[in-house]
Amino acid sequence: MPATTHYRPPPMHTNPPLLSVRDLVVKYRVKGGRGGLLTAVNGVSFDIHAGSIFGLVGESGSGKTSLAHSIMQLVQPCAGEVLFHGENLAHMKQASLQKTRRNIQLVFQDPLASLSPRRSIAQTLIEPLDHFRIDVAGRRHARACRALETVGLEPDVLQRFPHELSSGQRQRVALARALLPEPELIIADEAVSSLDVSVQARIIELILDLRQKRGIAFLFIAHDLAVIQQLADRVGVMYLGKMIEIAPAHRLFRQAAHPYTRALLEAVPVPDPAHANPVVLQGEPPSALTPPAGCVFHTRCPQVMEQCRVLEPLDSQINDPGAKNTAHHVWCHLWKE
């Protein structure tokens, strides 16, 4: 009998959040054709508290990967700020930025592409240790072995090359590499999306274990709501560069407020033939180059109203919790206060 978990609301955090994103805007210049600016992230705000898992959901074109990259300062945001322990990452000096880089680690979707093909696993794992000057040079190899053990791999993997491992093993190496600097936050961008279902289950178990034993916070980005439900304490839903709903996980899956979230929940294919999958959402998502005016979702919304075409919805908080991290926010005219 598989274990079932009753939802408990996450502990009330009165401490300030670990990571705070405020009104982040990320734009790219589009080459060729008529050119122009692509607004990948259009004013997104959310918080992640230490030791919690924040699930970020969105389909392709929602801007979630650009968000992850801009948090890591791989791409400079055009506006807004990213605060880590209250400090703005964009204004940090080199030394503090380096320390922050140690504390936030990234795991990507494609395990084969995220490991350097011509370097052995040992070289790949020791690279962050050397770069961040963690521990004494002589002990770094042992650390790498221990990291492999934590993710359930044998030390003999160290001599192998990425193409010699299965995708599940590679993804575990990527996780081991992310663990080595002992970060406080790991950003996992579609980290399990390209894995087989049984391997995915193993990585999910691993992430939960890491959160429990080491208190590492996760920003878990995915398009699969079922996977998100396995992991997240708090969930944010993005559409076309905007955050349209943020809620504690148990509330999102029980009482989703935004029509898009509801449509997403209905569209997830259920491994149960008796369950009919209604096609709720018609049409194609609009191009991110020319986003719709007003609410970005209004062109496909089954409950669209006149004001949705013109006015951008503002943040509404629809419950009344004690702590900030159990608040349920939605950006929708249906829920205007």
Partner: protein, 305 residues
């Protein structure tokens, strides 16, 4: 009933999960089965051996000595006869091997290296806000070099640096590197967006380190093929330069022999011409076979199912 017919399918796993050894071993596996590779390698190996023999002084040392009469026929003393000045054709042809390899190696290694470095820099800084001038500048420079008619430019540089033994080499390196440069630039741009590079940037590794450790090693397949091709191109260019009188000065090369032989052929003596052109043909054939086989073996486009 007919027996079941067998079809064939191409290699199944593009990402073979448990292939032992570094990635190169799959390419070598393919290479070993490629007949043209084996043939090319054999030819080049023989020539290399002969070159070493010349280098160590066992063969071809008498290339400048007028040891016989004019236009002597093939004999035991002169395996391929003698030329206009009574020099032994065989000795000259074999010594020219050393010249050929020297030019080929120097030009191919230096031009490939230069192309790799500048190409990687250009590709890396392409699209980087604030630093696009690096890419722009290198591209502009490549464009300028490429727009000058090739032999004209090589000849002009060789002429200007005349007298200096390395004039010809410099001229060739200066023009050959752009091809490699463009290829590496394109590949660097492709590799730059791959996630293992993003990982390196995410932990804050500086750009030169990422280029040398992560980007360039993944372009080795291109560099190997380019080096082979430019080796061949260098030798062929030397032939033309020799015809223009801008080739080797105090040595002998096939180009020089061919240039000399134009007059001899008119007088009905073909040995010089045949010796030089046959040797040239064989060496270039060997290297071309190698280059083709290497290109096929490292072709990343394997059909996957």
């Amino acid at each position: 009933m007919k027996s079941p017919r067998t079809l064939t399918l191409s290699t199944v796993f593009a990402n073979d999960p448990f292939e032992p050894g570094p990635k190169g071993s799959r390419a070598w596996y393919k290479l070993r089965q490629d007949k043209s590779f084996v043939l090319g390698l054999a030819i080049v190996a023989i020539f290399l051996f002969l070159t070493l023999a010349v280098f160590f002084g066992w063969l071809g040392q008498g290339w400048s000595v007028a040891s016989g009469g004019r236009w002597e026929p093939v004999s035991v003393n002169h395996w391929l006869g003698t030329n206009l000045l009574g020099q032994d054709i065989f000795q000259r042809a074999v010594f020219s091997l050393r010249t050929a390899f020297e030019i080929g190696l120097v030009v191919s290694l230096l031009s490939t290296l230069l192309g790799a470095l500048l190409g990687a820099l250009a590709g890396w800084y392409n699209g980087e806000p604030g630093r696009t001038w690096v890419d722009g500048g290198i591209l502009w420079f490549m464009g300028v070099l490429d727009s000058i008619p090739f032999y004209l430019f090589v000849a002009a540089v060789a002429y200007a640096l005349q007298g200096w033994p390395w004039a010809m080499h410099i001229a060739m390196v200066a023009t050959f590197w752009t091809t490699t440069g463009r290829l590496i630039r394109a590949e660097a741009m492709r590799i730059k967006s791959r996630e293992f590079v993003l990982s390196a940037r995410a932990i804050g590794l500086p750009a030169p380190l990422i280029l040398f450790r992560h980007v360039l090693p993944n372009t080795l397949h291109i560099l190997l093929v380019q080096a082979t091709i430019s080796f061949v191109a260098a030798i062929k260019t030397e032939v033309i330069l020799s015809f223009l009188g801008l080739g080797v000065q105090d040595s002998v090369s096939w180009g020089l022999m061919l240039a000399e032989s134009t007059q001899e052929v008119l007088a009905g003596h073909f040995n010089n011409f045949l010796a030089a052109s046959l040797m040239l043909f064989m060496l270039l054939l060997g290297f071309n076979l190698l280059a083709d086989a290497l290109q096929d073996a490292f072709d990343p486009r394997q059909a996957s199912l």
